[in-house]
């Protein structure tokens, strides 16, 4: 039953990645782009998990751990940078 479901799940995760990319390119403010990157890495985690199930062996398990940690650290670093930018919403960061 899992083998029947897997292609649809992988396709849906790929479509979600595409929607994240659209928001990443369009996003009117810098926070929108950071949010799109945050969602992008979370969905990429799910896609790697689905691909590991499809391949039948958890080759990418360490990759999942590394993406989870580095994505979180990157999001918090970008949010702290935006928090400390002087000049309010007129600051030239996007």
């Amino acid at each position: 039953m899992t083998e029947t479901v897997l292609p649809f799940a992988i396709l849906a995760y790929l479509l979600a990645l595409l929607l994240c990319g659209v928001r990443l390119l369009r996003g009117p403010s810098a926070e929108d782009r950071v949010l799109a990157l945050d969602t992008l890495y979370v969905v990429a985690l799910a896609l790697i998990a689905a691909l590991s199930i499809a391949l039948g062996h958890p080759f990418n398990f360490e990759g999942v751990l590394a993406i989870a940690m580095l994505g979180f650290v990157g999001t918090v670093a970008a949010a702290l940078y935006l928090l400390r930018v002087k000049g309010g919403s007129n600051a030239d960061v996007g």
Binding site: M1, T2, T4, V5, L6, F8, A9, A12, Y13, L15, A16, L17, L19, C20, V22, R23, S29, E31, D32, V34, L35, A36, D38, T39, V42, V43, L45, A46, L47, A49, A50, S52, I53, G56, P58, F61, V64, L65, A68, M69, F72, T75, V76, A79, L80, L82, L83, V85, G88, S89, A91
Partner: protein, 111 residues
């Protein structure tokens, strides 16, 4: 792999894929940054959590129930997603401060 675990993995994959799709669709369509923040922090986190739970359940039975280490990224995502969303909301509020509007229902108390 028992039948019930197979069914659970399939249901988790479908629910997770639909949740991730709904979350990113909301992030694309909603009008304001705070509403755009609200959509993926719940739905996309649920989607990734369902996929990682499916991974944990699948390889728990494939490897003969030897270890629970596949639950590590699940717990990590569930702990860190609200923290990053909170940081983003704080950054947005710092750069776009709220200007309080006078309440028409209240009489002007200040002279």
């Amino acid at each position: 792999m028992p039948m019930w675990a197979d069914i659970c993995v399939a249901v988790l994959l479908i629910v997770g894929a639909l949740a991730a799709l709904i979350g990113t669709w909301g992030m694309l369509r909603l009008p304001d940054f705070m509403t755009r923040l609200h959509a993926p922090t719940k739905a996309a986190t649920l989607g990734a959590g369902c996929a990682l739970a499916a991974l944990a359940l699948r390889f728990y039975f494939v490897e003969g129930g030897s270890s629970l280490r596949y639950l590590i990224p699940l717990g990590f995502v569930f702990v860190t997603a609200p923290v990053s969303a909170h940081m983003l909301a704080r950054a947005w509020r710092a750069r776009h401060p709220v200007t309080p509007k006078p309440d028409p229902a209240m009489p002007s108390a200040s002279p």
